[in-house]
Amino acid sequence: MPDGRFPMSEIALTTRRLGRTFGTGDRAVRALEGLELEVRRGEVFGLLGHNGAGKTTTVRLLNGVLKPTTGSATVLGLDPQVDGPALRERSGVLTETPALDERLEARETLALFGRIFGLGARAAADRAAALLRDFGLEDRADEPVAAFSKGMKQRLALARTLVHEPELIFLDEPTEGLDPVAAREVHELVRTMTRQQGRTVVLCTHNLVEAQRLCDRVAVLQRGAMVALGTPAELARRLQRGRRVRFTVAVERAAEALAALRAAVGGDAAIDLHAGEDAGTLHLDGAGPEGVAAAVAALVAAEVPVHAVVPQEPSLEDAYFALVERPAEGTVAP
């Protein structure tokens, strides 16, 4: 439950036709175009898109670091262009690269940023100590950052993002380059930030599993334009009529099984049946409980050995690839 630390008015930020073009003439790059968004307080909102989609540009625009070439935004009730400093007192950004100074020690890093955010010397030192504890960095607090592992650096950068208790947090690819354990730690921290502390999180990622796990809603960006918006489940369902059930049968009987299933459910236009990637797997999409029962009965009647019948949740990954054309030289992480 949120502990009520921040006002619970509903909207954290909105954008109106927000856009940014870099350069002019032939070399102009439209990094973002006509973005219309509304992020609610206390939600984890995902900005999903592959390299160059405009995620980082959006974060910069929303914090008054870049100027928009079109449109406007209202973030925590403020215009980032006009009230950037006041806005940045209440928002925190984990940048794509941790941007930590390797010469500084962890404790110093946090204390110095505390001072820059307006804390007094004592308050900054106390805050640094508390964050080091929360983020499990106490043991290494007085070592220069240069000696830290990637995961520790990311935790420190995340701690720095929270130095001034921001109510709105932007995380730009927070688990990029982390091992699965470190990534899971970051996920837990993000959950704590929202569920326990009531903060709003905007999460940029091209990691679809991460988006599905963490985000309440996601906007899919492609080459600067928003191509879809909704909860991960909605997006996935929109592209897949109903549930998918995966049948695994003996490989040498796969063709026979397909024929039997087709005979059983083939008459229903709403149901789609096709062979899976691996020999011996068959996918049945859009069949209700009766359809699945009929399919199983047909296989049994045909005496095909059935190894498994597994219902599958629609995945954001499938939806994403259906929505977004593959990049020419793609680096879309699964």
């Binding site: 670091v65 870049l66 100027k67 950004v93 941007a99 500084l104 820059i116």
Partner: protein, 281 residues
């Protein structure tokens, strides 16, 4: 305190906090700290002591050295008057310690300001640490001002403390010959109190502009280093007797340099907007 006063206090607190961070980072770099220690040591101690040793052990030879005689003949009147009636070794001491070294001394604030600015502007860009600062409540001008302070304050402090140290060493060296205190004199006071900050500003301003266009600390430091050339030119001109430096001339030169500094800072600030910085990251 008025609301405006509170805001101003907070803004200054922020600038000091930014400056404290930059200073801490600068102190952590041996590429910055080594020249910051070695160069003053050479200028303030080794050079005057070396000149003193030359006077003691090479007095005769110096008297006969044709180029010194020639230089003395070309030396403008007021300096010549100071030298009249002194033995050759003493003449050389006064000429070198009080006169020729004066513009050389300006290398100090110039170097200090340039090397720090190279680290805090170009170096920060190279290390990609600036972006985190862009998301703090600071204004562009505060970020810029903090970086100027971090270069200017040490440069001025080093030159003022350097004047005290240099005067002490030079007087210790020269007293046995002159039986009076040689430094600081009017020329040195004007140079160090007035021209040195202006020269530091010049080194800083140029380094800021260079830093916006290069990728690394080293490049900025090396290209910014060309600012030392005008100083070398003055030293050479003086030695050749074409340039004659006195307190009044130094006052004028200082004022002109401050005007140049202001222009450089204004241009520098323009290229230091968040939008421009983020576009370059």
């Amino acid at each position: 305190m008025s609301a405006e006063g509170v805001t101003r206090t907070r803004r200054w607190a922020r600038v000091w906090a930014l400056a404290a961070r930059d200073l801490r980072i600068v102190r952590g770099s041996s590429a910055v700290m080594i020249p910051l220690v070695v160069v003053p040591l050479v200028f303030l101690v080794l050079l005057p002591v070396g000149v003193g040793l030359a006077a003691r052990f090479g007095g005769q030879a110096i008297g006969q050295a044709s180029n010194l005689v020639a230089l003395l003949e070309r030396t403008p009147l007021p300096v010549a008057a100071q030298l009249a009636g002194l033995e050759p070794a003493a003449q050389m001491l006064v000429l070198v310690l009080a006169y020729l070294m004066a513009p050389m001394f300006l290398v100090l604030p110039l170097m200090v300001a340039s090397v720090i600015a190279a680290d805090s502007f170009a170096g920060e860009k190279e290390r990609k640490t600036l972006e985190a600062l862009l998301y703090t409540p600071t204004r562009d001008v505060e970020l810029f001002g903090a970086k100027l302070l971090v270069a200017m304050v040490p440069a001025v402090a080093v030159s003022w403390a350097g004047l005290a140290l240099y005067s002490l060493v030079a007087d210790l060296v020269a007293y046995p010959y002159l039986h009076r205190v040689l430094l600081p004199d009017a020329l040195w006071l004007v140079l160090v109190l007035w021209v040195a900050p202006a020269v530091a500003g010049l080194g800083l301003g140029i380094t800021v502009l260079v830093s916006a266009r290069v990728r690394s600390f080293q490049e900025a430091y090396q290209i910014g280093g060309v600012v030392v050339l005008p100083i070398i030119a003055v030293v050479a001109g003086q030695a050749a007797g074409v340039v004659y430096l006195d307190a009044v001339a130094a006052l004028v030169v200082g004022a002109a340099l401050f005007a140049v500094d202001a222009a450089l800072f204004a241009v520098g600030l323009r290229s230091f907007s968040r939008d421009a910085l983020a576009s370059r990251v």
